[in-house]
Subunit: 92 residues, 2 copies
DNA sequence: CCTCCTTGCTACGGATTCTGTAGCGCGATC
DNA sequence: GATCGCGCTACAGAATCCGTAGCAAGGAGG
């Protein structure tokens, strides 16, 4: 349950989402996330690293070993959200 | 991306997670979520209802029409996180 | 050795969000 | 009509986040 708590903090999902296509440097990741403040980003990265969701490689930050599975889950989540946002907001 | 933004707010994922097994009343949901403050809970519920993720039934709050799919996604996410937390935290 | 870059990351004050507690209005029940 | 639990609101204090500036380290070029 702790894991969902970490994933439910601001920018956590977004960081993972931006990393789904490959590694990014700290600054590139920051730029990809609407220029988050570096303090927040660093905090989230530390938490996500503690979870094993993110790791540091030679090319910067990347998804952990199970990254591909996570990418698929995030894609599902994203698709679900997009579909819901279009079809279910107005439901009179 | 807006949807992921809402899902990335504090307690959003947790609320959905607690609703995955069936409807809960406002107070029960609050209790299930480590006694969130009612203001936060009410805010999150409003946002999630606007997304179509949560709806109000006679038995209280419940996952929306696409709730089952979301529940499965959250379960995947949870399992992923749990597995990562066990296998990857200690990585000397 | 000495600049000039870029990179990861920290510091800090102000703005935003969350928390904790109290309580209202309402319907059901006694 | 008194009591109970319910959904929900109010509000101040605490925690968090943002925006900006800047540091130390490492490499490229002179």
């Amino acid at each position: 349950m702790r894991a969902l708590d970490v994933l439910g903090r601001r920018w956590s999902l977004r960081v993972l989402w931006e990393l789904r296509r490959g590694p990014l440097t700290f600054r590139a990741l920051r730029a990809a996330c609407d220029d988050v403040s570096p303090s927040s980003l660093n905090l989230r990265l530390a938490e996500l690293r503690a979870l094993g969701a993110v790791e540091v490689t030679g090319d910067g930050y990347a998804l952990g070993a199970r990254g591909e599975e996570l990418g698929r889950i995030l894609l599902d989540l994203h698709r679900w959200a997009e579909r819901g946002a279009r079809g279910a907001v107005r439901r009179p």
